[in-house]
């Protein structure tokens, strides 16, 4: 596999059985999907997450010692894509399952793994990401939040922002400065776990333009946490966040955010008494051709993860393609939907369109991703 040649990966028989189980599970839990939405960042439903945990579908690839199911990245991929395509509410456990858990598994201490991972796999313990700050967006190394060691504690001061579900989740893993800035701007950064309910961080929800209150400002005003909350080696934060972002960037959530618009577009066209125009068929076909291709690329990256490979560049490429198309999809659907389209289409379209500006921002802006890809091409 090279940056341009994504491996041909075919999902095996085990995933077919699992896929069927997930579909049955979704059918049995329709009441958790009153308004299906494939955007992973909407729909925070702890009860649904606990049910997934009971099926052992959170922490699928993790060791059983910490409550994981020791299954493959392909199996994880299949569970993830089925749940997203159905539009199920996944937000509560999403970050913990996708990146906080893998981060702790890779860099955390044995005590941290024992403390946090089993709760995550049960769908009971939810995490947020503390990276962005009011003056730190794409330039992540410029974070100003400090964690200063004082005896047997770290004193944290600063502000994190755009923190999805900090007002609903249990923990936040923050990227903080543990050493003063030096010439190497990537040095002196660390990751630290803060208990959002116990440690005294102030969480203020921020309304978004789509009418949701999902993200927050999290203020740390002399928040004291024990020393053992540091994840990995102090000062290793930059290496850790960059590896964490690989998990964040290649999954099916990066091309399925607007999938429900596609489904509802088809529903507007499937009336047997009306033959769709060719341009309407073509709109459906065009969307499908993109999703089918990106899905295979995302599976190729799952194959790399399964082999323990670094996926940063490939993941950036999949996210770039996926996020760009997630925004184009509603635009295609809008012009293909019949006049006076049913309410369900209109509502799904509008909800997605209002969320769409975030697609190419969260998890690394389009501009940052293109820089990562350009580096992979040898241009920088």
């Amino acid at each position: 596999m090279s940056l341009l040649q994504f491996d041909r990966v075919s999902l095996d028989e085990a995933t077919a059985t699992l896929r069927q189980e997930v579909r049955e599970f979704i059918e049995d839990n329709r009441r958790h999907l009153p308004r299906p939405n494939s955007d992973f960042a909407t729909g925070h439903d702890p009860e649904f997450s606990a049910k997934l945990g009971a099926k052992r579908w959170i922490g699928l690839t993790w060791p059983s010692e910490f409550g994981g199911s020791e299954r493959s990245f392909f199996e994880r991929y299949v569970v993830t894509e089925e749940i997203l395509a159905a539009g199920a509410p996944v937000c509560a456990h999403w970050i913990a399952d996708r990146q906080s858990g893998p981060l702790l598994l890779r860099f955390g201490s044995q005590a941290q793994k024992e403390a946090y991972l089993p709760g995550i796999t049960r769908g009971e313990s939810f995490f947020s990401i503390g990276m962005s700050e009011p003056d730190t967006g794409s330039d992540l190394a410029s974070v100003r939040t400090t964690a200063v060691r004082e005896g047997d504690a770290y004193r944290i001061n600063g502000t994190k922002i755009w923190t999805t579900d900090a007002h609903r989740n249990h923990y936040i893993i923050c990227l903080v400065r543990t050493d003063a800035p030096s010439e190497d701007r990537h040095a002196g950064l660390s990751q630290i776990v803060v208990d959002l309910r116990q440690d005294g961080a102030q969480v203020r929800p921020i309304a978004n333009m789509a009418g949701g209150e999902d993200f927050n400002e999290v203020v740390f005003d002399d928040v004291l946490v024990p020393l053992d909350r540091i994840v990995g080696e102090p000062g290793n934060g930059w290496q850790q966040v960059t590896s964490e972002l690989g998990y964040e960037r290649s999954g099916p959530e990066r091309f399925l955010s607007s999938f429900r618009v596609f489904v509802e577009l088809i529903r507007t066209l499937e009336d047997p008494t009306q033959t769709p125009h060719a341009h309407q068929n073509a709109a459906v076909g065009r969307i499908a051709s993109h999703i089918m291709t990106m899905r295979r690329m995302s599976i190729s990256v799952a194959g790399m993860l399964e082999q323990g490979k670094e996926v940063a560049q490939e993941a950036a490429l999949v996210k770039e393609l996926g996020n760009s198309f997630e925004k184009v999809l509603p635009e295609i659907a809008r012009l293909a939907a019949p006049d006076r389209a049913p309410e369900l289409f209109r509502r799904t379209f509008e909800e997605t369109l209002l969320l769409s500006p975030s697609f190419t921002l969260r998890g690394g802006t389009r501009e940052i991703l293109r820089g990562v890809i350009a580096r992979g091409l040898g241009l920088r």
């Binding site: 041909r8 395509a85 709109a283 076909g285 051709s289 089918m292 770039e320 992979g376 091409l377």
Partner: protein, 325 residues
């Protein structure tokens, strides 16, 4: 896939790449556009056994054949090689240059076939129509009017008496799949040319590859090119399955959609130099523009794919997409 088949394929790709890098240069491409058939290159390809790829006697499979076709696209090989390979796989036996075009008319006096690639050179021509597994084999083709596509590749009208042959995998879709692979190879080459030019060209005292505008342009081009490779491979992998036509539809549409964008961006990066006849870039970009229209453009295949999805129903849309392969 076993290691042995992987090795065979890599050997085919490496050998083809070396052969084309040596032989298929700008002078040959220019000559082909003047109507000169590249006889010596054809002989070399034939002598190396590449015209038999995909047949059981050659010990290679269809995926090897399409991998070779992708290499032909990468070097803009101006020969009816994809057509000859398909003819050999549909009705084995004969030797020589064969071609394929669109069947428009069959009467008692014979068949008319349009847009036959290098039709004047072909000893045998096959006419293919949409939605039919039956093709017409014209044994002694009489070439009529010859035109060229936007890439300067000759396309002839051919007449002659013929007989019917039944082809297993939808033949029109197989032709589309040849274009998919030609485009995929050609797209990768156009990206390479763009990267190479951006690194060599200096403005404002540094290589233009150092400018973010250029980096981002090439990053998006690379994303499209990577998507095209994966889409092409997916359709090849569906050969012989009931998904073949739909996977080809998705693939021809997706890869075709990449062509216009990639050609435009890489021309932009090349500036006026890439607009000269002397530069080799246009041999590749004009082929992208030609091939995306041949054997069903994006709209044709999107319409077919979309119709199937709508007939399948909204609540089965995900199941349609989430196949194992």
């Amino acid at each position: 896939m076993t290691e042995e088949t992987m090795d065979t394929r890599q050997l085919i790709i490496d050998t083809a790449a070396k052969m084309f890098a040596d032989q298929c240069d700008k002078a040959l491409l220019d000559a082909a556009e003047r109507g000169e058939f590249a006889t010596s290159l054809w002989t070399l390809i034939d002598d190396n056994g590449f015209t038999k790829l995909g047949t059981s006697e050659s010990g290679t499979d269809a995926a090897d054949m399409y991998a070779f076709i992708k290499e032909c696209g990468r070097y803009a090989v101006p020969l009816p090689i994809a057509e000859t390979l398909l003819v050999n796989s549909w009705c084995p036996a004969a030797e020589g240059v064969f071609s394929i075009g669109e069947l428009v008319n069959t009467t008692s006096t014979g068949a008319s076939v349009l847009n036959v690639v290098w039709g004047t050179q072909a000893r045998k021509v096959i006419g293919v129509s949409r939605d039919s597994h039956e093709v017409i084999v014209v044994q002694e083709p009489q070439a009529g009017a010859v035109s060229t596509n936007i890439a300067g590749e000759p396309r002839a009208e051919v007449h002659g008496s013929g007989h019917i042959v039944e082809v297993k995998d939808d033949p029109y879709a197989q032709l589309a799949l040849t274009r998919v692979n030609l485009m995929a190879g050609c797209l990768a080459r156009v990206l390479e040319l763009g990267i190479q030019f951006a690194m060599e060209r200096e403005q404002f005292g540094r290589s233009i590859s150092k400018f973010q505008a250029i980096q981002h342009s090439l990053a998006v081009v690379a994303s499209e090119v990577a998507a095209a490779q994966r889409a092409a491979d997916a359709a090849v992998d569906a050969l012989g399955t009931d998904r073949f036509v739909m996977e080809t539809a998705a693939s021809k549409s997706r890869v075709g959609e990449a062509c216009g964008f990639v050609a435009a961006e890489v021309h932009q990066i090349h500036g006026a130099m890439g607009f000269t006849h002397e530069h080799r870039l246009h041999h590749f970009t004009r082929r992208l523009w030609a091939w995306r229209d041949e054997w069903g453009d994006e709209f044709y295949w999107q319409d077919r794919l979309g119709r199937a999805l709508i007939e399948n129903g909204a609540d089965n849309a995900w199941d349609f997409i989430a196949t194992r392969g």
